[in-house]
Symmetry: C2
Subunit: 598 residues, 2 copies
């Protein structure tokens, strides 16, 4: 009390004429906690919900990502059923649309039907998987709490990594339609399915259960999600269709059945019947651990000495390396981790830098594989030439990663304009923000002219070409929460360049061969054009019969071709090329020749 | 228990050969909450801490933003004292650096001094303001808890808006150096100053108080922050120096005293001695409120009827408009807000769209002002011509905003290469991500050739020119948490274009005038060249004396100049231009002429 009086007495002393002092008390009243849900509700563009079109895509993407991760974690070949229903101007009471197991009861207490506003740009996304399902207790948190999940705290290759995505979609749906997200999940044939209607209490970032019950579901296990949202559906460009197509390229083991808002059904069948190799969880590599994290790890470790802590809590640290680190750090190996000071932790971090430690293990990463990537490309893009490579693993900030790249050239692709770039991160297609992405940058900075494509400086190459890049890592560094572009880490940029260069070289030998074959064909055409004339001349000179003339012509042709074949016996697979690839060129030439002869 | 048995019995039924079923229980164990501090610790590039150089700048920026906001809120002319100390390879025990009031005791229990690792790229940022101070209770939350602050929940023009910035800087410091952030704050001459050493418990996103005590501080009120961090100091480009210079341009009322790591002192004195007009907090505009938020607002309002809710909780809704909205929404005006259904809320949102409502009030925005902006430019950039405009307020998504633009042309600026662009948001300079910013886009899309500058299509204009754009709004839509670029809202892009076009027109009349004056001078030079010859000719013809010849020449000159003056009496300030501005051009022409005559 005495204090308060004191404060009131001193008024006019300060430079400004504030009557009530100290103003800090006024300001303090407004200082309060901001829930992460409120934060992202206001900043939803950070999560990929900038506009209705993108919002629809992001919702589908987050749901598909989660479904695939769950299936793979449980070693189930994923089968996804996606349905997007156009709700625009359909009065809800009629319920023409299937809604979970039960009829969704909207709180209808009002009267006249005709007043009901027509919903514009309103869609329902229904996605069903055959995954392991979610235990009852966790359903509300997973779908109606931001920053909740299993992937953030593990170093493992996953599509999701933040625990934001699907609840953000639910939040967006709630914000734009006021409707709860609806979940049905079943974890085994003998368990009942659980149905939930959930909203997010944004002020607390906590799930609010609108409805829950057991339901019958004629399925062994799986999860079904329904979200109503304001969206815009378009095909082409950055559309759901395109996203699914690209997902099929990067995930040849996945089956997707998709019913579009126009009720058109598309099926993307799996190209391989095996799951990709399981990616393993790893411990952090000592070189990627910063001081603050080291201090935290020392505090929470179960190890009894610093040496055993280094050995047990990091990857690639054997007991020998652990001792060496302690030595380099001048820290007694038997120090108790909890008693290590900040100074000591700092010396350990420096000691690690001085010690030779093996690169992180790479069995934790499951790339698509060059073969599967090529298969995927062949399935989805009609081209003449395909090539794909998988680089060996590399490391950035202690995180192992693998770059894969593929090229599809020619065929039905547009010969005009810039080549297409498909970007993937942990098998997820990236459709937005190509300009800010390390992939685009690396491709633009590669010299494609030396591989036979035209290119203006610092731009994407020109021509009928699709370039695919995939980064697989235990932690993909995205430039924003919406996971649309990859950050420009120098190690990553370098690896991408090396990968596309490798593809480029393969492509260039094809392009060169193709050019040669065309030239070759031209020569043969010439030969074929002149041989009859030579035949005629010989016939006259030697007075051959017509039959003999034909024979001579045949022989001549054979001899000439043999000779050329010997001279250029590099071309072993020439025939293949002729038949399969250069066919187009040949046909053209043939047609041209015919025209000329006419 | 019975359930569990049941689950164990059914093993081989499903398509896959998982022995332990249901796997969902396994997965559930790993599903848990992620604290927002952990999230941003792992994703620190989202907050502007990508690399050491940027981290140092971001730390300074967040601290300066907070200091300025606090001073203005308390109506105090801001005086900021910034010191960046290079700690590299200085052993800490020596403590050559002032550290708060007291000597910071590091937990030193180890022995040999020489083992201590040399710190590379380590800096201490010390920033002191004369603001209102922070009440004791709030200090830990404000500096050591992410998403805590006073600005998120208000619609008011502030530099900060998220409650992340300064705690993120503290978090980064802690992560890279293991050191706590150190705060001293005093709220009035009669109160004691409070000293805190704080760490962030990242797992809980809660402050951890390392030390707290009352200290003597010879200052009426204010706050002092000390953060140790890994950083990199560079001048030029995107440096602290550049940031401070630009801050001085956009905040002519601020005094900044800055001691750089090389112990060079720079002072940016205030150019005006008045605070900018206080920006006011406003209520949301009904047109910017989405359904989800409407439902929430209906739930928490204190109003008793929907009509009074619309009137009291929104801006620009009088009781007449409120009734009109209810009518358009077919909602009885006397409905109790808490009893309004989702359907009703939806109808209200649609009703709002059908109702004519005034644009949001704009007294909530405090632009820099064209005059002050020009003053700021003149202070910091040596040029020949300056112009600045302040547009009238506009609205995006219900948020009022104002665009200001300025141009500085010629002078000591580099005549080669692209023009410089300075971007500001709520008086804060934006130094990173120009490519992703609506400002850069808008300027590039403006046709500068019609204003006399050269420009290649879709690029920034060329020439000795600096273009400044400032957006002031109650909520600036940034593209990321690090607040580096402005999102591409069409309304904002349009306003920016209009503002720079206005500047462009002013600039063009100057550039044209300059060109004309140069041409004019050329003509006069010709006249002056020929008049003596005419004089000679007349002298011969009329047999004049030398004295008369001179007189005639003078008269001739006068007559000719008068005539031309009359013809072109638009040029009132010609003389000014001649002397001050076109001087360079004139001199050049004169020199050229001389050479020619030689």
């Amino acid at each position: 009390m005495a204090k308060k009086k004191g404060k009131k007495r001193q008024t006019k002393k300060s430079t400004n004429s504030n009557k009530k002092r100290p103003i800090a008390h006024e300001l303090a009243k407004k200082q309060r906690e901001i829930s992460v849900a409120e934060f992202f509700e206001k900043n939803r563009h950070l999560l990929g919900f900038d506009n209705p079109k993108k919002a629809l895509l992001t919702t589908v993407k987050e749901a598909v990502d989660n479904a695939l991760d769950a299936c793979e974690e449980a070693k189930i070949l994923p089968e996804i059923n996606l349905q997007i229903v156009d709700l625009s101007s359909k009065p809800e009471v009629k319920k023409e649309v299937e809604e979970g197991q039960t009829v969704l009861v909207t709180e209808e207490t009002e009267k006249p039907e005709d007043i009901k506003p027509k919903y514009e740009d309103r869609y329902r996304v229904i996605i069903e998987d055959n995954g392991p399902g979610i235990v009852k207790k966790q359903i509300p948190n997973i779908f109606a709490k931001l920053l909740y999940g299993s992937k953030f705290h593990t170093l493992k290759q996953n599509r999701g990594q933040q625990g934001i995505g699907i609840s953000a979609a639910a939040l967006y749906g709630q914000l734009t339609t006021g409707k709860p997200v609806r979940i049905t999940s079943k974890i085994s044939p003998k368990s009942p399915a659980h149905y939930y209607e959930l909203k997010i209490d944004t002020q607390k970032n906590k799930p609010e259960i609108i409805k829950e019950k057991k339901v019958e579901w004629n399925k062994e296990h799986g999860t079904k999600i329904e979200i109503d949202l304001e969206g815009k559906y378009q095909s082409g460009g950055k559309s759901v269709d395109r996203y699914l197509k690209q997902t099929a390229i990067a995930n040849p083991h996945v089956t997707i059945i998709y019913a579009s808002p126009q009720a058109k059904q598309m099926v993307f069948p799996s190209a391989v019947k095996e799951l990709p190799e399981e990616s393993k969880e790893i411990k952090p590599h000592p070189l990627g651990v910063e001081l603050g994290r080291m201090i935290k790890m020392l505090n929470i470790t179960k190890a009894r000495t610093v040496a055993s802590f280094l050995h047990s809590d990091f990857s690639r640290v054997g007991s020998g390396t652990a001792k060496k680190i302690c030595e380099n750090a001048s820290v007694p190996p038997k120090t108790k981790p909890k008693k290590a000071t900040r100074e000591m932790a700092e010396r350990i971090v420096h000691g690690i830098k001085k010690t030779r430690i093996m690169n992180p293990p790479t069995n934790c990463i499951s790339p698509i594989g060059a073969e599967a990537l090529e298969k995927g490309l062949k399935k989805e893009i009609k081209a003449e030439f395909y090539a794909a490579v998988t680089r060996s693993p590399a490391v950035y900030r202690g995180n192992p990663f693998v770059i894969e790249a593929g090229v599809a050239y020619g065929g039905e692709q547009n010969p005009e304009g810039k080549s297409k770039v498909l970007r993937f991160a942990n098998r997820v297609p990236l459709l937005y923000q190509p300009g800010g992405c390390a992939v685009t940058q690396s491709i633009s900075e590669t010299n494609w002219r030396s591989y036979g494509l035209s290119q203006s400086r610092g731009s994407l190459p020109q021509g009928p070409c699709t370039i695919v890049v995939h980064i697989a890592s235990v932690w993909v560094p995205f430039t924003s929460e919406s996971k649309e572009a990859i950050a420009h880490y120098p190690e990553i940029v370098k690896e991408i360049k090396l990968a596309v260069q490798e593809c480029g070289r393969k492509l260039s030998s094809y392009v060169r061969k193709k050019k040669k074959i065309v030239a070759e064909k031209k020569k043969r055409d010439y030969i074929e054009t002149y041989i009859p004339h030579i035949g005629d001349a010989l016939k006259e000179l030697l007075s051959l019969k017509v039959k003999d003339k034909k024979k001579v012509e045949k022989l001549l042709k054979k001899i000439l071709e043999k000779k050329r074949g010997k001279l250029k016996n590099i071309k072993v697979h020439k025939a293949d090329f002729d038949e399969n690839l250069a066919l187009e060129g040949d046909k053209k030439n043939a047609r041209k020749k015919e025209k000329k002869e006419e």
